[in-house]
């Protein structure tokens, strides 16, 4: 023990300001308090799960529910969720496209669907690159693990660190236009935003609000075994991605429109888009690429090719541009 420390300890003992056995006391108290908080929290979490509407649960979970076991769909059973029921995962399927509603609202839903699938035509004024919403949200925004609209819609309003405030779903949509579409933000209440909100709302019909639905976002990957490497990623790209996205990553056009989207360069998402974060891109790629062959790349390959994609130039982050 260093000399100055023993001197200080002796001094503390003599002045009765401190005694080493107090450390023991503090640790024991912390453990007891943690236990008192943890046990009821775990019980509440389980009770919340049991109270969820049974229609929202898949059949396999319904049959296992009476045994009293916590179904596997609950994330990390036994650990209290920091925000209660929010992290309980529920399976959900959006309504069939044949059941699109009629009337004025139906028209808004249809416009929203058209904007989503063909943003270049239906929201031309607000798009600054060659992309369509459906490029990153596959199957018309319906596909689980491809950031489906129905899983996002029920989680708003929410606080976002990206702009340090509570965002409505409409705010969130404007972020897509600003960054992923490298375009202009449609005014709040514009027919494009109303249409996209209507489409998202319709897709979410029957989903519990404020509950994380299974398939939300892109499935998070474990940390890579080796740091993501663009040189390895280039090889993955050439073997798996170049056939559609082009050897230069600039996509493939048919009659002036991108049939396969550009992954970098002037017609791709800008540097403020979520897809520029390697962990996001890797998660999307692993679950969904190549098209129709999701989950065939290894996780390491997904990390590497995401790193490679994001090692190229793209339009600047508009937040960094002084007007």
């Amino acid at each position: 023990m260093p000399n100055w420390f023993s001197k200080w300890l002796e001094n503390q003992k003599h002045t009765r300001a401190f005694h080493p056995s107090w450390i023991l006391l503090v640790v024991a108290t912390t453990i007891i308090i943690a236990g008192i908080v943890w046990i009821p929290a775990a019980l509440v979490s389980k009770a919340e799960y049991d109270r969820l509407p049974s229609a929202a649960l898949p059949a396999s979970e319904k049959t296992s529910a009476p045994t009293g076991e916590i179904p596997a769909a609950v994330e990390q059973p036994g650990f209290p969720a920091p925000t209660g029921p929010k992290t309980i995962r529920v399976d959900f399927s959006p309504p069939d496209v044949g059941d699109l509603p009629s009337g004025e609202f139906g028209e808004a839903v249809r416009l929203g669907r058209n904007i989503f699938n063909d943003t270049q035509t239906y929201a031309r004024a607000y798009v600054g690159n060659g992309l369509n919403c459906v490029n990153c949200h596959l199957d018309e925004g319906r596909k689980a693990n491809s950031a489906p609209l129905w899983a996002a819609y029920v989680m708003f309003p929410a606080y976002r660190e990206k702009n340090s405030r509570v965002n409505s779903y409409e705010d969130r949509l404007t972020g897509c236009f600003r960054f992923s579409m490298n375009g202009k933000v449609p005014p709040p209440g514009s027919k494009e935003l109303i249409a996209l909100m209507s489409y998202s709302y319709w897709l979410s019909k029957g989903a519990p609000v404020g509950v994380e639905l299974a398939g939300r976002g892109y499935p998070k990957l474990a940390e890579p075994q080796q740091p993501p490497d663009a040189a390895r990623g280039k090889k993955v790209f050439e073997a798996n991605c170049a056939i559609c996205h082009g050897a230069d990553g600039q996509g493939t056009q048919v009659s002036g429109r991108y049939a396969f989207p550009p992954l970098w360069g002037k017609d791709s998402f800008n540097a403020g888009a979520g897809m520029t974060q390697v962990h996001n891109a890797a998660a999307f790629i692993r679950a969904n690429m190549p098209l129709g062959q999701g989950n065939t790349l290894t996780e390491q390959e997904a990390w590497d090719v995401a790193k490679y994609m994001n090692s190229h130039g793209r339009p600047v982050d508009p937040r960094l541009v002084k007007s």
Binding site: R113, D139, G292
Partner: protein
């Protein structure tokens, strides 16, 4: 205000211009190169057209099975060739020749062709007009609706992407690798999907088609093959 002199962008590197200024021979070489180059391309296509019409030693004329305008033969399931990407047609001929793609009729024909001839005939068929939506009224039976849905939307519950996601808007193909599907005889499309399932056709890049075909039921294959023979695009955008 200061006015800037306008400097038009130079389309050729200065060194190249200097070289050309250097003398008449450079100009003559350039003109000869352009003339011969474009002439050679033209000749390829004409030679390909002649092969397609007349055949050659050990080689039946293409038109005998693939139709006078490369439109295919629906009843026999011989595919449409007109308007397909050249690179796709050439790859198929090369792979019939080396046995990577199996077909009792096409293998001997492809082997009888020289590499040059394969290029010529692929170029000829790529240059012919592709399928155009006709006046044939679109049926709206449950089967054709199912086929249309698979072609335009896929079935993501089974990880089946839309056919048109890779084969182009309206199924017209995407250069250079993805062939056109629209207007293809249904017997041909059906046979190919089943061949991928069975593993008797396996020359698709990265196993992309095998992965899709494996997830399709017989009913889905029937529906989509029939739809693609006469696809209708009305009502796709709702």
């Amino acid at each position: 205000m200061r006015t800037k002199a306008f400097n038009p962008p130079c389309l050729l590197p200065h060194s190249a211009l200097k070289g050309l200024k250097g003398g008449l021979p450079a100009w003559i070489a350039l003109i000869a190169w352009v003339g011969l180059g474009s002439g050679a391309v033209h000749a390829d296509r004409l030679a390909g057209a002649a092969l397609a019409q007349q055949g050659g030693p050990g080689m039946t004329a293409c038109v005998a099975c693939h139709g006078a305008r490369g439109e295919g033969q629906a009843a026999a399931g011989f595919p449409r060739l007109a308007g397909q990407p050249k690179a796709y047609l050439l790859k198929q001929l090369q792979e019939f020749a080396n046995g990577t793609r199996k077909n009792p009729q096409m293998e001997p024909i492809a082997r009888a062709l020289s590499a040059q001839q394969r290029g010529d005939v692929a170029d000829h068929y790529a240059s012919l007009p592709g399928w155009k939506a006709g006046a044939k009224a679109a049926a709206s039976s449950p089967q054709s609706l199912a086929g249309s849905s698979l072609a335009t939307r896929g079935n993501w519950n089974k990880e089946i992407p839309a056919c048109f996601a890779c084969h182009g808007p309206d199924g017209a193909g995407i250069l250079p690798h993805f062939p056109a599907l629209s207007g293809q005889p249904s017997a041909y499309t059906r046979a190919q999907l089943k061949a991928w399932q069975a593993g008797t056709r396996s020359n698709d890049p990265q196993g992309l088609m095998k992965a899709v075909a494996d997830r399709m039921t017989d009913a889905e294959i029937d529906a989509v093959s029939l739809y693609l023979e006469h696809p209708s695009f009305s009502g796709r955008r709702e």
